[in-house]
């Protein structure tokens, strides 16, 4: 089932930025990363899907419900965490969760159970009477995520959820999101931290100027449609032998060379990379490290938005 169906969505602000015929489909088993430069329209899209903003034109459905005509059912299905989410500093943790449980109309015994789950999920089960203001930013973010999940949403909309978090808190957040995805919650997450997205997302969607950005086919070299794979290797022994070998190898492009490190682009995919490695070894070159994982998200981002891959 499609949790998000967005077709030709437009939203124009007075300043001009917004969405311009953006389309997206997100299935219930997906964890999709939304990536793009500042002002690309990521927050606008998430705000529309969470019913905070009305769409200009086009279709925007969440869990089969139109965000414009059925916002209450959409809200019941969605958990939304904005980029800079505030908390009520002068409330106790338990009171904070109770308030949002009531705001989502949870009735007993579901209400108490949901609050208990949220306390456990946030790791704050042993301090429910503490004031929210005494929590660090990382703990607040965990509390906010737990609050967002109180009503068991089918879809999570997360707008830059890792902003301002320290590395440990980011790791915890990543683990929580992976777990939620495994539990069947569909997630759309916008972030500039590409390594985090690369780690957890099942798919990446690029957006710029409010439009879908078609990514060059994975592994395709710039200006070419033929697939390529990027290989990073370290070797021992005289460099001359390797140079000689590379001169005679077809479809090889040297991207970077530093002492014993070599980064090349090879025509083909992983099978060709494997054959290439076998030939290297057969030629008597000692390879101490060989990594042929293709383009990482940072490279794909550079390709999508005009920068050069490393």
């Amino acid at each position: 089932m499609a949790m998000i169906e967005v077709q030709s969505l437009r939203k124009i602000f007075r300043g001009g930025r917004g969405l311009d015929a953006f389309s997206l489909r997100l299935e219930s088993n997906e964890l999709v990363g939304l990536v793009g430069p500042n002002g690309a329209g990521k927050t606008t899209l998430i705000k529309i899907l969470s019913t905070l903003l009305p769409p200009g034109s086009g279709v925007a459905r969440v869990a089969g419900r139109d965000v414009r005509s059925d916002p209450r059912r959409v809200r019941a299905a969605v958990g939304y965490l904005p980029d800079v989410a505030g908390v009520y500093q002068d409330m106790r943790i338990r009171e904070f969760l109770e308030f949002f449980a009531d705001a989502f109309r949870l009735k007993e015994p579901n209400r108490s159970a949901a609050i208990g789950r949220a306390l456990i999920r946030s790791g704050l089960a042993d301090r429910p009477e503490d004031f929210v203001e005494h929590l660090s930013l990382g703990w607040k973010q965990r509390l906010l995520l737990a609050k967002t999940l109180l009503h068991d949403p089918k879809l999570l909309l997360l707008d830059e959820p890792a902003t301002g978090l320290d590395p440990l808190a980011r790791i915890t957040l990543r683990e929580q999101l992976k777990q939620l995805h495994n539990e069947g919650v569909a997630i759309l997450i916008s972030s500039h931290i590409l390594s985090d997205l690369e780690d957890i997302c099942t798919r990446i969607v690029f957006i710029a100027d409010g439009k879908n950005i078609a990514e060059a086919p994975s592994g395709a070299a710039e200006g070419s449609t033929a697939p390529t794979i990027r290989c990073e290797m370290e070797f021992d022994g005289p460099a001359g032998v390797l140079d000689q070998f590379l001169k005679g190898a077809p479809g090889v492009r040297i991207l970077e060379r530093r002492e014993r490190l070599l980064i090349i682009e090879l025509s083909g995919g992983s099978r060709e990379a494997s054959t290439f490695l076998q030939k290297l070894l057969a030629a008597g070159i000692v390879i101490t490290h060989f990594d042929a994982r293709g383009l990482n998200l940072e490279d794909r981002y550079r390709r999508a938005f005009g920068g050069q891959p490393r």
Partner: protein
């Protein structure tokens, strides 16, 4: 109907307000001001020279002076406080970035509005009712009957409720508390002072053309600007004495009710559309 009472916003708002440092400070200051006013009114009433004659001072005279002085003073003080409690209540959610959480919950715009309104008004009512013992002092002196007290409290509540709705409207419109509160004070100033000035101009014009009719007081069309004055419902209901000429309390109630309803409707619409502000 039950949801009006069980609205989670009300509990949250009251809890937060009563945890603020000013929760006990304001009532204390408020009661000190009113106690000072009572003392002043008492000694003023006891001073025969201030009454303009040498007649013996009656208990009823003291009671009447204390009552009028306190009800007017408390309305002045509460009019100054109402914008503080109402005009910042939605903007603070925007400033603290908590508004998105409310708007994406299952709370409706009317529920959010109602929670904020009740919380703002309840705090003002707490102040109002805490001063009741001072007002009943006037009844003990005589000259004031309990019905007058009831009318004074009722009209004060009506005016405060209207000002709170104006405060919430400006709070729903602006992004920052300072702008919203300034706008609400602007409304209070316009209603309190501009209407009085317009009335003053109209009445002097009317008096210059109707010298014979002065004793009956100005007609409704001359008083009309005052119907919007926050003091008019109070003074017109108390009637008698120098306020006897203000004889259209119902018109004033209706206008204040209409202002409140309009401001509430605009505020709810503004809350529904405030996604762009957060």
């Amino acid at each position: 109907m039950m949801r009006l009472v069980t609205n989670p916003m009300i509990l949250k708002e009251l809890r937060q307000r009563l945890r603020e440092g000013r929760a006990w400070l304001l009532p204390t200051l408020y009661l000190l001001v009113l106690a000072g006013t009572v003392l002043f009114a008492y000694y003023a009433a006891m001073d025969p020279e201030m009454g303009g004659g040498q007649r013996e001072v009656q208990g009823a005279d003291i009671g009447e002076v204390i009552f009028l002085t306190v009800v007017i003073t408390q309305l002045v003080v509460l009019l100054l406080m109402a914008p503080v409690f109402s005009a910042g209540s939605l903007t603070i959610e925007k400033e603290q970035r908590t508004f998105a959480g409310l708007l994406t919950s299952l709370l409706t715009a009317p529920q959010i509005w109602w929670g904020k309104f009740v919380a703002a008004l309840m705090y003002l009512l707490l102040l109002l009712f805490s001063a009741l013992p001072l007002l009943t002092l006037a009844i003990a002196f005589g000259g004031v009957d309990p019905m007058q007290l009831f009318k004074a409290v009722g009209s004060t509540i009506l005016v405060l409720a209207s000002i709170c709705t104006l405060g919430l409207w400006s709070s729903s419109t602006f992004r920052r508390s300072v702008h919203s509160t300034a706008a609400c004070y602007g409304f209070v100033l316009v209603l309190s002072i501009v209407t009085a000035v317009v009335f003053g101009i109209m009445v002097s014009h009317w008096e210059s053309h109707n010298a014979m009719a002065r004793a009956e007081g100005p007609p409704a069309y001359v008083q009309a600007p005052l119907f919007l004055n926050p003091f008019y419902p109070l003074l017109s209901m108390l009637g008698g004495g120098s306020f006897g000429q203000f004889s259209y309390p119902v018109s004033s109630w209706l206008l204040f009710t209409a202002i409140g309803c309009l401001a509430a409707a605009f505020a709810m619409r503004s809350i529904q559309r405030s996604g762009e502000q957060i």
